[in-house]
Symmetry: C2
Subunit: 202 residues, 2 copies
């Protein structure tokens, strides 16, 4: 006990390196599968060494997603679920297919209650929904357009079809974590709103 440091001070540094390696691995490995050994090699360790810091592969991937969230939050606006920041994040995601795949992958696996990321995703969706809803409520009475999309936004049938399908798939993801959600009802409402938009804007 020579130089006393915080209980997690030193480990967090190594954890950070491992997480960075995992991020890099997923970013590069466009389509190949990433094993714990792959990540370990990048930091010059064995797989057991890596697992020592995270306990399991799933826990490691969960930590990676948390780190990615934190990085996004730091990069684009402090208020994580600000609508403008959300669009910026999506735009940024479009440059990292590997990480998007990682997200979708873990999100699917996290449907299991025992999965280490289960709580993380539940919380993530919960707070995101809350923040977005609050933001929307705030902007309802605004006269100014809060989110100004630079390019022209096309509102046509093809766009509506993409949105309808996307909402269906995405709602399934949320529903797996929160079974109270009424997917069909939500989609029916969306359908009505989209039809109105198509009728008015064309």
């Amino acid at each position: 006990m020579s130089t006393p440091r915080g209980p997690y001070a030193k480990t967090s540094l190594k954890r950070q390196k491992i997480i960075e390696a995992a991020l890099a691995a997923y970013a590069e490995a466009g389509s190949r599968k990433v094993s714990v050994r792959d990540i370990a090699q990048r930091v010059g360790m064995t797989d057991a060494g890596v697992l020592h810091h995270f306990g399991s592969r799933e826990a490691l991937l969960t930590a990676v997603l948390e780190a990615r969230d934190a990085a996004a939050r730091a990069a684009f606006g402090e208020t994580r679920d600000d609508l403008r920041a959300g669009l910026d994040i999506v735009t940024h995601n479009a440059s990292t297919p590997g990480l998007v795949k990682l997200f979708v992958d873990v999100a699917a696996a996290a449907a299991e209650p025992e999965h280490p990321a289960h709580g993380f995703f539940q919380d993530r969706y919960d707070t995101s929904r809350r923040n977005i809803a609050g933001q929307l409520a705030r902007h309802i009475d605004d006269s100014e357009e809060p989110v100004t999309p630079e390019p022209v936004t096309p509102v046509d049938q093809e766009w509506a079809a993409r949105i309808l399908l996307a909402a269906t798939d995405g709602l399934q993801l949320q529903w797996l974590l929160e079974p109270d959600i009424d997917m069909a009802q939500d989609l029916a409402a969306l359908y009505g709103v989209l039809m109105d938009a198509l009728r008015n804007r064309t």
Copy 2:
């Protein structure tokens, strides 16, 4: 020819039994992982026997999803992507979490171009989008409401938040298969439409 050759019709009977077993396994397993051995046991075979008919686990799961699609098509309306049928299917999905998880799971994995389900999902989204877009276009000039949701459809901030998040996640799924999709632009348009709806209906 009345007796088709090739790997599709010869063993189709056994394949069918295996697919049914896989469907049952995923439906029951709720969210636990299903191995090829699990499925094989249900049909009184070994895993090697099952693999002989499909080549790989991934190919088997792809076949399961195709069968599920076909079954849904048969059960709810002939025109697969009819909007009403789509809602019915979603409602039905809400009773089978295991199968929903299977879908999301394979959809994520199918982002890889080498995955056996890659083409399947590309085609599925492509035709779905086409059909839905056509259906929407047809209904724009209709005076009657084409899809009548029985329960009241709530249009509020919480609903809009769920939709916004769902569309984000779902668009990522489509984008992984079709990188030409501009996620941010689509979402910006959705944001505008949702804001309009909230302003008008509240």
